[in-house]
Symmetry: C2
Subunit: 280 residues, 2 copies
């Protein structure tokens, strides 16, 4: 039985792993050997201290190197459930069942059902983060798919960069009112393009755009029914403890802002909290 | 009047600045042009995602480059007080008085009164972080100055690396009991050495050591009397909001763990919270 099972190998999971290693704890890091396709698809990282304009692919490579140098391997697999044992947890992962004294959930967020072409063009015109990628579309034409009024500030931020914004506001009573923002009725069905995004299809018609921002609400994957979730995110305290004793969470699954720095910080704090929970 | 005044230009302050810039907010970043001597003195960084064994000096240089590329300058000065105005704050800094709609406190922690030689040997044998630097002392002899029983786990971590530990337990009822840990009575008066630490002085006698770990409790600098402080740290919620409306905090000043990743994450979250507080 290991001290901790980290579920998810994105920025939060990797941060937790590096810190648990420094704290000399035994753990499993379950995820993809590629760590995170979402991170790898980021065009340019500007607001993460220590990465001066690196690409997401570069960030992933550095994290892979860090795991290698720390002697940490990723246990590949998809976790399908977590079950409580006697002072421990069982984690079902494919045909395997792993046992750990504690859990760090670092599962990220699974966006709602993707549009045709959305996944294909991530990093090639499709972005999930106005703050991260908005500046790439200075003077360009973009589409923004927005499912939540809370994201309107980000729509306006994008409108400050782009010359023209086609806004798909998939909620009631949109309040965005800017001269260069055109509200489009209907739900987009497809993103099209060649090497990069060229257009978005709605009602059978294609609108030419240079990029598409998907500002979507996210559904948090709850692998453990008793886990407390608030507004679709795992509820945690300042120590990253959930309502379940011995279960911690970090990164995008705990809610906004969906940012690498937040994920790295929360993974670090969760690892320290796990160590304090385990005792000597 | 700027949207926000960030007090402190360590990792948390820089993270907040980079993110406020991405959010197109106007702000002042007050601190040292060298950002953080504490970071600059770190020998090797291992558990920060994105920095694979970089030195603290390298980390500082990357952050300086990021500020430069973001068009962000550091306003040099020492803040002596914060005063509330009518829906704004005034920040006294040397002969200047700055006005901001919001505040991010990123002041770090000022360790209790340093020992003679302590500051001089930071990065050359003096460390404040067992998790960060312990591995550098494999098989070596070290002194550990510990002011809080909460840090005993870190003492034991160090004892797992070093062959011999001289422990100055500056509190009652020390419970560390390991064959290679010798508890030394008295308060150390000086750290001595040449290019690196060579010894620590107690009761007029010098003990030869390769390194000194200062595991000290920290006093949080309260620039604003009404600010709520708990156990010496600024009390914050998950959004990094303090008890004072419009005043946020991030990094070491909000408490343990004193880690770069936590500081970067909290700076990022504080910036997003400031932006939400300011509205459109």
């Amino acid at each position: 039985m290991v001290d901790c099972i980290i579920i998810g190998a994105g920025v939060a999971g990797v941060s937790a792993a590096l810190t648990l290693k420094a704290l000399k704890r035994e753990f499993l890091l379950i995820g993809s050997a590629n760590l995170s396709n979402k991170v790898a698809g980021a065009e340019k990282i500007k607001n993460y201290p220590g990465l001066d304009g690196a690409s997401g692919a570069q960030f992933v490579q550095i994290m892979k190197d860090q795991l290698l140098h720390g002697g940490i391997s990723v246990t590949e697999g998809h976790v399908t459930g977590i079950y409580e044992g006697d002072g421990c947890f069982f984690v079902a992962c494919g045909q395997e069942m792993y046992e750990g004294k504690s859990i760090i959930l670092a599962t990220g967020v699974e966006s709602v059902k993707p549009i045709v072409g959305e996944r294909e063009f991530v990093g090639r015109g499709v972005s999930y983060c106005a703050v991260c990628d908005g500046f790439l579309y200075r003077g360009k034409t973009i589409a923004v798919v927005c499912t939540d009024r809370e994201e309107e500030r980000e729509v306006e931020l994008l409108a400050g960069y782009a010359s023209k914004v086609y806004l798909f506001a998939l909620y009631k009573n949109c309040t965005v009112n800017l001269p260069n923002v055109e509200i489009v009725k209907g739900i987009p069905s497809q993103i099209k393009g060649g090497t990069k995004v060229e257009g978005i299809v709605v009602g059978g018609k294609e609108i030419a755009v240079d990029g598409v921002f998907m500002l979507k609400d996210s559904a948090c994957d709850t692998l453990y029914p008793a886990l407390r979730v608030e507004n679709g995110s795992v509820a945690v305290d300042r120590n990253m403890a959930t309502n379940v004793k011995g279960m911690f969470a970090a990164g995008d699954c705990t809610g906004r802002p969906y940012q690498y720095a937040k994920a790295a910080g929360e993974g670090n704090v969760a690892a320290h909290s796990v160590s304090a929970y385990l005792g000597r």
